[in-house]
Symmetry: C2
Subunit: 172 residues, 2 copies
DNA sequence: CACATATAGTTGCTAGTAACAACGAAAGGA
DNA sequence: TCCTTTCGTTGTTACTAGCAACTATATGTG
């Protein structure tokens, strides 16, 4: 609308190229980690989603189902069933909230805490092997960068609601 | 046991700390991207796994089921069903190999290619928005780093077979 | 207090993911 | 020809995931 005074125009070939390259690299990284995590985690009697739930509970302490579902980006029904499975396996406990009979407090059991610690130790050890050959300052920089990317992704996650807008049926 | 002559000892507090921090950052990044991808991809009539299959076929061209399964780190039975769904939806075609009647050649249809292009464009655009505020050299460095991490992960992926070794039942 | 509304969580349903095991069909070697 | 290997499918089990419907409890309003 107003005369273009911004230094960064809408079309920027270099940015487009960088975006594509970063996309490809991140896509591959995420894909590999998804598989690696599945392999490591699933040897321990829980699935990746179940492990995320353990992590959330280890991080946040006792929480109700809604909070857990939000933390995991899951529908409450899915979260409910994940908790159900974890309870059956003895890794979490469900207790009614004393003041509000609607809410269920979910807590890690000692067994659950132990399993979480064990899995996390394995994953950290894996990371340690990965970066053992890097110089300390490079390692530090890598961590900072990954953190920044995660933060940026988290910010953009808020916008755009839960799903895409108008689904155009125009592929072909 | 023997006198320590290695420059990098087994126990290295700084390395341990860096490993844990990188683990936490990567863990969060992967988790966020998993969810973001699910959101973006699933608006397009395919699941994340199905989209990975489209990507593999777009990258590798026509391939048989075994190759696709290996590429996706999936059991051939799972891969078979993923292809089955994609075929039903009209995104891939299955044809018998002319020389070897056992193998099925899997190919993207025009519709499948179009869908893949559309999804990829959305994801790249998302990445573009993410890095638009970064200085060009930082963007470049980020891409290089992510690539390195992915490469390192891919290397470590080979070792350790498909799953962990002896499953110790000793958590708490 | 009574009724309307909102919230928390569960359950029914459908579809897809994932692995293992068993299977059938085709190829290739002894 | 028979044996073995390879390729892909199918049966089975368990979990993931979301939507919609439902129950129970809480809270606000007349």
């Amino acid at each position: 609308m107003t005369p273009q005074t911004r230094a960064r125009p809408k079309t920027d070939p270099a940015l487009d190229r960088d975006a594509r390259e970063l996309y490809e690299a991140l896509n591959e990284l995420v894909r590999l980690y998804q598989f690696r995590d599945r392999n490591i985690i699933c040897c321990n009697d829980v699935s990746v989603t179940q492990c995320y739930a353990l992590q959330a509970l280890a991080r946040g302490g006792t929480m109700n189902l809604g909070a857990l579902a939000k933390d995991l980006f899951l529908d409450k029904s899915t979260a409910s069933r994940v908790v159900e499975t974890l309870e059956r396996k003895g890794y979490v406990g469900r207790t009614a909230h004393p003041d509000d009979a609607r809410v269920t407090e979910i807590t890690l059991t000692a067994r659950g805490r132990g399993l979480h610690r064990k899995i996390e130790a394995t994953l950290v050890e894996e990371e340690r092997r990965l970066i053992a050959d890097l110089a300390p300052d490079v390692r530090r920089a890598a961590t900072d960068l990954v953190r920044d990317l995660a933060r940026a992704a988290a910010q953009r996650m808020g916008v755009g609601a839960s799903c895409c807008g108008p689904v155009a049926e125009d592929h072909q």
